[in-house]
Amino acid sequence: MTHPYIPNAEPGVRAEMLAAIGAASVEDLYAVIPAGLRLDRPLDLPEPMASEHELVAHMRGLLARNTDTTEVLSFLGHGCYPHHVPAVCDEVNGRGEFLTAYAGEPYEDHGRFQAMFEYVSMMAELLEMDVVNVPTYDGYQAAGTAIRMAVRYTGRSKVLLSGAVSADKMSKLRDFLDHDVELVIAPVGAGGEIGDVEIDETFAAIYLETPNVYGVVETRGRELADLAHGVGALLVVSADPISLGVLAPPAAYGADIACGDIQSLGMHQSYGGGHAGYIATRDEERLVAEIPSRLFGIAPTAVPGEYGFGDVFYDRTSFAHREEGKEWVGTAAALWGITAGVYLALMGPEGMRELGETVLARTRYAMDRVADAGARVLHPDAVHFREFAIEVPSSDGLLAALRERGIFGGVRLDDRTLLVCVTERHSKDDIDRLAAAVQEELA
């Protein structure tokens, strides 16, 4: 049988084509590969599923061994968040025209250019910055690149990093930066915010996250911006855009570069498959020049009033100049950018504000209820958005006990510390259920 994915595997057409090119067999076409390099046996792979039904049955059998977060009550966050994904987001990113397109020109792929331009434009409004990149891989990469941008911009090689960053992200930043950037880690203050810091003219930037790894909203952004600017350094702030309906955007307190992950804006958790990173700056040529990603801009066409699109300042990129470009650019996470655009257009300013208020309020409610239940809530006086840390006698013990009750209680930070995540998907009842379970387990 001719495989449904390979139309020209049909023997008749294969013979016709070979005849047309004057080859006796496909083997002839491989003559260029030396015999010594030729694999002389079939690949040793599992037996294929001969029919679509059998493939479906096989995959269903495998995946049935997962318990997903709609089947339990999950308070897991720590970089991947269970916000509600509007059905329209799934509808748009499921359309084959977007899902299976790639890198066409602004003519036959006008739709992609416009959708992406609109995504960066909506992010720009949320961030109050004029320049936003076509998404990079994720918030980790965005942070790494934002810091490198500051390093290149200032010509300095020391960076002060907030210590309130997840261990995994720190691992990525070390790998990405360590070989030529000196990372100085700022301690976490008692209140959960970044502690006191000192920098001098050798520093390229201060890097801050808000809400930080403990869910604490940093309140000293303006002070840090002034501190950085005072020594000619930049303030780089990583912020989850979903918080910006209620929280001030980094630009409002003086940040020079904003960055972060957009998974919250309409992407499913997908076992870590929904990430994409944004980088934003003001419209200053020297700063824009340091962005490695593509930038899509609006441009006039031969017809007055018509909007065309194209690459802004393409010369920055490795596509244009290989190793002479800024870092590198390649396929990253464009479809998640389009999706985040759909999300922001659905939400509008009011939706973003209400969502922020709901998350703030429920986070605080959860902190109070869990504290009442006997867990020690860390940084209780700080403003929290979506996450908070608690101290318990045994992280593993409590998590295991909660799991017995159908609850993923949080992410283990260490033997005694857990991180609990609350979004608009967690109803008051859900939170009460967690608190009641914690109370019984800790009693």
């Binding site: 260029v32 899902l99 739709g111 590198w328 996470a333 009011e350």
Partner: protein, 492 residues
């Protein structure tokens, strides 16, 4: 559709979706962190947001609609719809990456099985599925190369990476980002990377050779083993860019040519959809001596249970959040399982046959050529130099005009070593009839260029928009990478 920019469709007070009210006491924010002005996002009803994006989608060309053989180096193949089903299932879509291992045995098994499959296809010892894309996998490979040499005390000494001009630019660019000096080998008169240049370049400063084969020209370098030996001889590592392995699945393997590292793009060879440019998926394969440096965690199987192993002291650490681009790992696995060993070989053979057939048709168009002869595997970098000399029409202009007929092609990466380039890669997904139609369109446009070059230069005529004036895009005073910038600069 003449679809306005989304901001132009906004009307205050409208809403696309409702949000749960808090239902618990509100939190008052201190002024220092409270947003002062609401963001100027569009305000639209749900249908209107949907309609806008549906219309935009119809102004885009995907594999699902087009004969997408023109995006050479990108392996634009069919992404089976059934595989999307698996990843849209809550059993994948609603998994949190930090769930306990025993609640994600299914997905861990998929990771584990796909690793084994890719290890067999490449001959490598282990494979990491963490990298987010092909370029990210290249970067992961560089990071491992760096860690390897550092572990042997040669980190500072080995500060050069050698690559070739017809390897993807990310090989050069990632190496540079990782702190290496980059040496680029140019093709010799036969189109092969110049082995003499390699001999000259290789030495105690050599950290690695990063090389694609067949290169983006579709030319397979028959002396690849010699390249690897030369680098090994100097103490360097050899790293194989297999972003596009579509023509050699089951034919030849990275390990058999002696490579220490390689990478695949799941969104090229392994059929995951290109998604307008990602989410993608990369896979880094390594030989046994590089295995300790793989990004962590890895997926391990103890005979009854899968688990994550993060306790790997020599690991380069995290390349991205969590384990990998899971939906594409699931899709790639399902794709291989629908084909098996025999099917994969059929993929490779058909991709190569299709390419040679298409080449035969393209080279019959006057003005088209394929520098360095006709021995190609899965793709060809062609040239319209002949046509340009005759008509003054550039390859880019031919491509724009071809779009009027519903197809597209990509020229090549810069610099244009092949003059007036265009790069076609038909993969195994297209039928002979598709290839005939595609070649006929190019022949038609080439003929037009000869008869009426100005007409071709004035294209497009049949697209959403007309010829774009690109000048403003490189002018800082005018460029408008967002609507916010545009309204400030052009509508104020």
């Amino acid at each position: 559709w003449d679809e306005p920019i989304i901001f132009e469709q906004s009307r205050p007070g409208r809403r696309g979706i409702a949000v749960p009210a808090a239902g618990v006491p509100a939190v008052e924010l201190p002024a220092s962190v409270r947003r002062a002005e609401p963001p100027k996002l569009p305000e639209m009803s749900q249908l209107h947001v949907l309609r806008h994006y549906v219309r935009l989608s119809q102004e885009n060309l995907g594999v699902d609609q087009a004969i997408a053989v023109g995006q050479g180096t990108c392996t634009m193949k069919y992404s089976p719809k059934v595989n999307d089903r698996f990843v849209n299932d809550p059993k994948v879509a609603e998994l949190h990456p930090l769930q306990p291992d025993d609640t994600v045995q299914g997905v861990l098994e998929v990771y584990w099985r796909l690793e084994k499959i890719l290890a067999e296809i490449s001959g490598m010892h282990r494979v990491s599925l963490q990298p987010a894309s092909g370029s990210a996998a290249i970067y992961a490979n560089i990071a491992m190369i760096r860690a390897y040499h550092a572990s042997r005390g040669e980190g500072r000494q080995r500060d050069q990476v050698i690559t070739t001009m017809f390897s993807h630019p990310s090989n050069a660019a990632c190496a540079k980002t990782a702190g290496y000096e980059v040496i680029t080998l140019m093709p010799d008169e036969n189109g092969y990377p110049d082995i003499e240049a390699l001999r000259a370049a290789v030495g105690p400063r050599t950290a690695a050779l990063m090389i694609t084969n067949p290169e983006d020209t579709g030319i397979f370098n028959p002396r690849i083993e010699e390249f690897v030996s030369l680098v090994h001889g100097a103490g360097g590592l050899a790293c194989y860019d297999q972003a596009n392995a579509n023509g050699i699945l089951g034919i030849t393997r990275a390990a058999d040519a002696g490579f220490d590292l390689c990478h695949f793009n799941l969104h090229k060879t392994f059929s995951t959809p290109h998604a307008c440019g990602g989410p993608a998926g990369g896979a880094s394969g390594v030989s046994e001596r590089l295995a300790p440096f793989l990004p962590g965690p890895t997926v391990e199987f103890d005979g009854s249970r899968y688990h994550l192993d993060a306790d790997r002291p020599q690991s380069v650490g995290k390349m991205r959040p969590f384990l990998g681009v899971t939906p594409n790992v699931v899709r790639a696995y399902a794709w291989v399982m629908a084909l098996g060993a025999e099917g994969l070989r059929e993929v490779a053979e058909t991709a190569v046959l299709n390419n040679n057939y298409l080449m035969h048709k393209i080279l019959s168009i006057p003005g088209a050529s394929a520098p360095w002869g006709e021995k190609r595997l899965e793709q060809v970098r062609y040239s319209w130099q002949g046509l340009f000399e005759e008509t003054g029409v550039h390859s880019e202009e031919i491509g724009v005009r071809a779009a009027d007929f519903g197809v597209h092609y990509w020229t090549s990466h810069h610099p244009y070593l092949v003059p007036e380039p265009f790069t076609l890669e038909p993969t195994e997904s297209y039928s002979k009839e598709d290839l005939d139609e595609y070649a006929a369109i190019l022949a038609h446009v080439a003929d037009e260029a000869r008869r009426d070059p100005e007409h071709v230069k004035g294209a497009p005529y049949n697209q959403t928009v007309h010829k774009i004036d690109q000048t403003s895009l490189d002018d800082p005073k005018q460029w408008s990478p967002t609507w916010r910038a545009y309204t400030r600069k052009h509508l104020a």
